[in-house]
């Protein structure tokens, strides 16, 4: 499962980096979204991946995941969601203000 998880994070990140290097605001936005997914999965994995166990802890269970990263991921998701919403509005504003969706402003 670790390999699958790692490949998923890697794929998301490489797609994100490709999109981030594009010159239009919308692909950049998608890239940032993918990057935040990858980061959230990575953060989740820092509490170790455990299957078939109690969600937090239980008596007699020795091997359980660390719950703290799950709380961190929740916070990161909320913040990432707010930031993405702001960026969408900003990108729309940039189109109105500069007449194009090029990341440097205007139509090139």
């Amino acid at each position: 499962m670790e390999a699958l998880f790692a490949i998923a994070i890697g794929t998301l990140t490489s797609c994100a980096v490709y999109l981030l290097l594009r010159a239009r605001t919308f692909p950049v936005l998608l890239g940032l979204t993918l990057l935040s997914y990858a980061v959230n999965l990575f953060l989740f994995a820092s509490g170790r991946l455990v299957v078939a166990s109690a969600p937090l802890t239980d008596q007699g269970i020795e091997h359980f995941p660390d719950p703290l990263p799950q709380a961190l991921v929740l916070t990161a998701i909320v913040i990432g969601f707010g930031m993405t919403a702001l960026l969408v509005v900003l990108a729309l504003r940039a189109i109105h203000a500069t007449g194009g969706d090029h990341v440097d402003g205007g139509e090139r």
């Binding site: 981030l20 605001t25 950049v28 940032l32 990057l35 935040s36 990858a38 980061v39 959230n40 990575f42 953060l43 994995a45 820092s46 509490g47 170790r48 359980f64 995941p65 660390d66 703290l68 990263p69 961190l72 916070t75 990161a76 913040i79 990432g80 707010g82 930031m83 702001l86 960026l87 900003l90 990108a91 504003r93 940039a94 203000a97 500069t98 990341v103 440097d104 402003g105």
Partner: protein, 514 residues
């Protein structure tokens, strides 16, 4: 428990929330409420500063959860000094915004201003890495909105770059946090300082990647080269009062470096000892040189002020990169000085631009300014402070940095870079000043003269310049304070004991789920 340490977070939170609902209040009531909230924060910050100057480090455990499990706020000398600095700059820039009435008239300005302060002061107070991330995000999202105020095309364009860059920075921050948590099992600074030296050699490389990722993020926040290109344009495009407050923002990145690296990855950190040292000094010197050249090359005063921020961050991080008690002391003194000087510069430049009807802040020949003598003397004092010429505090700060660098192996390089960069900035300001104030053409007939700037608008930069002068007049005690704060940074044992208590001297492995 004394609840004062959380007041710098709660006050702006409550004030900002009230101000969000205040759209129907008369403008004067909104201004007064916002100003009162900022003055209250200044009072709280000064009280905290007084208590920690001679007393122990104050630790506030939220909800009574004992560290390292709960969230802690820590007020030591460095944090308290930066709180006071933030509050002073906030008072002055808010006063300026109200006096000019251009920005403060917008309905959400005051609320955003308070949330910006919430983020900054929270970042100074927090005792763990994840809440540092959270407060970074709070201050960033407020700064985006403040930067965008007015939605002029150049502001939107600058803000788009800033937002995208900082979102990537946030992603890297979380990666670093996850790596460090994955190997150390804690994010509390004091706890990390105990756990990191004991890492096995299998885990240490992961923590090293995490530590360096964090350095990248802090470099982006403090606009260290090569991650600082966004800064001059963004700060130059922002409204003056906002840009003056933004002078504190880069210092949050510098603070994060000062807080994390000596404490967690200092010389005692085993395999990770001094992990930032090989990177910080060359990059800081490059930032210094680049910032000075930028000031010289700028074609408008606002852009020059933006480059000054970059230049001062470079000088500051040179002092930090010495990783010695003297270096930290110089960095702390120079942080206070350079923040005040750049904030005053942004305000004075805006006053000058408003007084030149045709040329604004561009370095072109224009008709003589009606209030040239008054604004010229303001500009002169600010330029003296920024360039680090005697008798103002920039000179003292420079001397402290040069003195601290004396024993460093690269002392010759550091000395020559600092002195040449200072000379370049002096030349740039001499040229800008003569271009703006002396190279005049006859005014077009019948053009209306700009009004005299109001007393309150002049009082804001005057107050900041007064603080700069106070840093020299009481230079002895200011330096002694900076040295005491630097000793705290250099001996992390005091910080660790204050947060975790004496009985946690050895890492407790029972709670780790590895």
């Amino acid at each position: 428990m004394n609840h004062l340490p959380i007041a710098p977070i709660l006050l702006p939170l409550i004030a900002g929330s009230v101000l969000l609902l205040s759209t129907r209040w008369p403008a004067t009531a909104r201004h007064a409420f916002s100003l009162a909230a900022v003055v209250a924060q200044l009072a709280v910050a000064i009280t905290l500063l007084v208590t920690v100057t001679d007393g122990p480090i104050r630790v506030y455990a939220l909800g009574g959860w004992a560290p390292p499990f709960g969230i802690v706020l820590v007020v030591d000398r460095l944090a308290a000094a930066l709180l006071v600095l933030t509050a002073i700059v906030a008072c002055a820039s808010l006063l300026y915004a109200v006096a000019r009435d251009t920005e403060a008239a917008a309905p959400r300005f005051h609320a955003l201003f308070q949330f910006q302060l919430l983020g900054i002061q929270g970042a100074f107070l927090t005792g763990d890495l994840f809440n540092l991330f959270v407060f970074f995000e709070v201050l960033l999202i407020a700064s985006y909105a403040l930067l965008l105020h007015g939605l002029a095309a150049d502001r939107v364009r600058a803000a788009l770059h800033v937002v995208v860059l900082n979102l990537i920075g946030s992603a890297l921050f979380l990666l670093g946090v996850a790596l460090i948590y994955g190997v150390a099992g804690t994010l509390n600074f004091a706890d990390l300082a105990r756990v990191i030296p004991a890492l096995t050699s299998a885990d240490a490389p992961l923590a090293r990647i995490g530590a360096l990722l964090l350095l990248v993020v802090f470099a982006l926040k403090s606009a260290l080269l090569p991650l600082g290109f966004w800064l001059p344009r963004a700060y130059g495009a922002a409204a003056a009062a906002v840009a003056a407050l933004f002078a504190v923002l880069t210092k949050v990145g510098v603070y994060a470096v000062l807080r994390v690296y000596p404490l967690v990855f200092g010389p005692q950190a085993g395999e990770l000892a001094n992990v930032a040292e090989p990177w910080l000094l060359p990059l800081a010197l490059a930032t210094l040189a680049f910032g000075a050249l930028g000031v010289l090359a700028a074609r408008s005063l606002r852009l020059a002020a933006g480059w000054v921020v970059l230049y001062s961050v470079g000088s500051l991080l040179v002092a930090v990169a010495l990783f010695s008690a003297d270096g930290y002391a110089a960095a702390i003194y120079y942080t206070v000085h350079s923040t005040l000087a750049s904030a005053a510069l942004f305000l004075v430049v805006d006053l000058v631009a408003a007084d030149r009807t045709t040329a604004g802040d561009r370095l072109d020949a224009a008709d003589a300014m009606p209030h040239g003598a008054l604004l010229g003397s303001f500009f002169f004092f600010t330029a003296v402070a920024v360039a680090g010429v005697p008798p103002l505090s920039g000179f003292v700060g420079k001397v402290l940095i040069l003195d601290a660098a004396g024993a460093h192996p690269a002392a010759a390089l550091i000395w020559s870079s600092l002195l040449v960069a200072a000379l370049v900035v002096i030349v740039a300001f001499a040229r800008a000043g003569s271009a703006v104030f002396w190279r005049t053409v006859p005014a077009p007939a019948g053009a209306p003269a700009p009004p005299r700037p109001s007393l309150a608008a002049l009082a804001a930069p005057a107050a900041i310049l007064g603080c700069v002068a106070a840093l020299v007049i009481w230079g002895g005690s200011a330096t002694a304070f900076a040295q005491a704060a630097a000793r705290d940074l250099d001996n992390p044992a005091g910080y660790i004991e204050a947060v975790l208590g004496g009985d946690h001297a050895q890492p407790d492995d029972r709670r780790r789920l590895r």
